[in-house]
């Protein structure tokens, strides 16, 4: 009997979201199938993450970037060059009121300098303090008007400010963060849409966990989001998914423990990359339309993985 390929047809389709401007523009999403199972080709964008606060980064990054680690603009340029990433994420961690509590002005200046230093689209991550991020990302949106950056991310407590500033006043993209809560993911998209942000200007940051640290829950959340968007044609869940695995991957003991701490585990850098690549690849096959990693080798590996699957 001849082989007959069974294809599941879906009525829904993931939105296409464009990030960046001019030649540097990339678009994510657009698939009408589960990841890599469609005929149109599902191509995950790969981003490289940097931060304005790299003091607690693993030593291997000092070896890779040298003094650039202390200068976000130089670091951005080097990170893109070394990784070949499609886009860059700058985390403005110094803004954290419970940390360095840097001023909004200085953080905005950092974001502007980083944007000017690179020729790929930019994602700007806040410090994860909802109140500070509202002001910070609003000012970032204003300063980078016309650059079509992603504000990463709006949460339940600040979506009005970030949505109104980013998605409406200054024409940026708004990421909606739901921390592995599928109902909240839908709710935030509804709220942003009701506010007046267009669906095509919203991406979902549904969250992640490092592989081995409750990732099953991430996997089932992504699965259900995609099946609702595609199978049930749920327009409130048809936004592309953007996942930053760098913070989680480089924060677990497998990546943090030094060779002295755990000699039996072997080289620390290889372990960190291993955690990051494992987590990122699981997200990629789970449905992330854009994946963000910290180590240039992780970025290259994921790009090769995606290219290899697409064939």
């Amino acid at each position: 009997m001849p082989y007959k390929k069974a294809e599941q047809k879906f009525s829904g389709k993931i939105n296409v979201c464009e990030i960046g401007v001019g030649d540097a523009t990339i678009s994510i999403g657009g698939e009408n199938s589960l990841p890599f199972l469609g005929t149109e080709g599902f191509k995950t964008a790969v981003g490289i993450a940097i931060s304005d606060t790299t003091g607690d980064w693993s030593d291997c990054f000092g070896t890779i970037y040298g003094d650039d680690l202390k200068n976000p603009a130089a670091l951005a340029k080097a990170a893109v060059e070394k990784s070949g990433a499609d886009f860059l994420l700058i985390k403005l961690e110094s803004a954290d009121p419970n940390g360095a509590d840097a001023s909004i002005e200085s953080c905005v200046a950092t974001a502007v300098a980083v944007e000017a230093a690179i020729n790929v689209p930019l994602v700007v991550e806040g410090c994860k303090n909802a109140e500070k991020d509202a002001k910070l990302l609003e000012e970032v949106a204003k300063a980078l008007e016309g650059k079509n950056v992603v504000l990463f991310s709006a949460v339940e407590d600040n979506y009005k400010t970030i949505g109104a500033a980013g998605g409406m006043a200054y024409g940026q993209k708004v990421s909606a963060e739901s921390a592995v809560d599928i109902n909240l993911a839908k709710q935030l998209n509804i709220l942003l849409t009701q506010l007046g942000v267009k669906s095509k200007d919203i991406v979902m940051d549904v969250g992640t966990a490092a592989a081995g640290y409750g990732f099953e829950y991430v996997a089932s959340t992504m699965d259900r989001i995609r099946l609702a968007g595609l199978g049930q044609n749920d327009e409130a869940l048809q936004m592309p998914i953007v996942t930053n695995v760098s913070n989680e991957s480089w924060g677990v003991k497998e990546a943090v423990s030094t060779l002295e701490d755990a000699p039996e585990w072997g080289d620390q850098e290889a372990r960190g990359i291993g955690m990051e690549v494992t987590t990122a690849s699981a997200c990629v096959v789970g449905g992330s339309n854009a994946i963000i990693v910290r180590h240039p080798e992780s970025a290259k590996t994921i790009k090769a993985l995606v290219a290899g699957i697409i064939g």
């Binding site: 109902n183 839908k186 709710q187 849409t193 009701q194 609702a228 049930q232 044609n233 749920d234 869940l237």
Partner: protein
């Protein structure tokens, strides 16, 4: 499971305003009712042009184009006793948002509507009846099988037939309503889809009682697998019942603002 499909019934020539709009080819009243229904969550719009013995073909084409051009190729149920008009409507129908639905066939005089749907790659509402309301579920299932065979012989997918068990009126036939629910369960168990004109249930009941009966029957029917209905989507209570049942059945994902979306 996919979510419950709502076929909006309000563009119907039984309404004087719509009948006049058809006669005058006046788009306004029709577009208004279409918009109201779509805003209220209708998935398909029923376009009932009546018997339309004269000029039906041209009228149906006008109506299909009017609705699809103004509402992003909204899918339509083409509803008339004039088969030529349905065929003419399908000729100008854009399928990008869903196949046309032929409304309707039965196992009696109207069985050729199944042929019409098959020949035009359309869906069809198949009434499980021959002459009037079926007397019991043996009849319902026999007619259902007859219609299914007819469609499949002509190359239709079984899921392109929407079987209507014929809801009966509570007033006077109350003892038979559970049979209709049972029929929905039996048809669903065969892997088939169902639909029906729900408001028939409460026909003749006082106005304030009707939504209550409609909603209760709808919820019970959905538990039996009922997959679509021809209803007034602007009935808020009914719409909310559908959303709530879709959530309970895991057909749509819950969110706090699910009713406002």
């Amino acid at each position: 499971m996919s979510k419950f499909m709502v076929i909006g019934e309000r563009i119907h020539c039984i309404s004087p305003a719509i009948r006049q709009a058809f006669a005058d080819r006046n788009p306004e009243p029709i577009l208004l009712r279409a918009k109201e229904q779509l805003d209220a969550g209708a998935d398909y719009l029923d376009l009932n042009i009546g018997p339309a013995e004269r000029g039906g073909e041209e009228l149906m084409q006008w109506g299909v184009k009017l609705l699809q051009e103004n509402f992003d190729n909204v899918p339509i149920a083409l509803d008339t006793a004039n088969m030529k008009a349905i065929e003419a409507g399908i000729q100008v129908y854009n399928r990008s948002k869903g196949k046309p639905i032929v409304n309707s066939a039965d196992a009696g005089d109207r069985i050729e509507y199944v042929d019409l749907a098959a020949a035009n790659d359309a869906m069809v509402i198949a009434l499980c009846s021959k002459e009037g309301v079926p007397g019991n579920n043996d009849e319902r299932i026999a007619y259902c099988s007859e219609l299914l065979e007819r469609g499949m012989e002509r190359g239709m997918e079984p899921t392109d037939l929407l079987f209507d068990p014929l809801f009966i009126v509570i007033k006077g036939m109350q003892d038979q309503l559970v049979d209709v629910l049972e029929a929905i369960q039996m048809i669903t168990d065969m892997g088939l889809l169902t639909t029906g004109g729900l408001s028939n249930v409460s026909n003749g009941a006082p106005k304030h009682i009707r939504p209550l009966l409609d909603c209760a029957v709808l919820a019970m029917a959905m538990q039996c697998g009922f997959s679509s209905a021809i209803v007034n989507p602007c009935d808020k209570r009914l719409r909310e019942t559908i959303v709530a049942c879709d959530i309970v059945k895991n057909n749509i994902l819950y969110a706090d603002s699910v009713l406002e979306f």
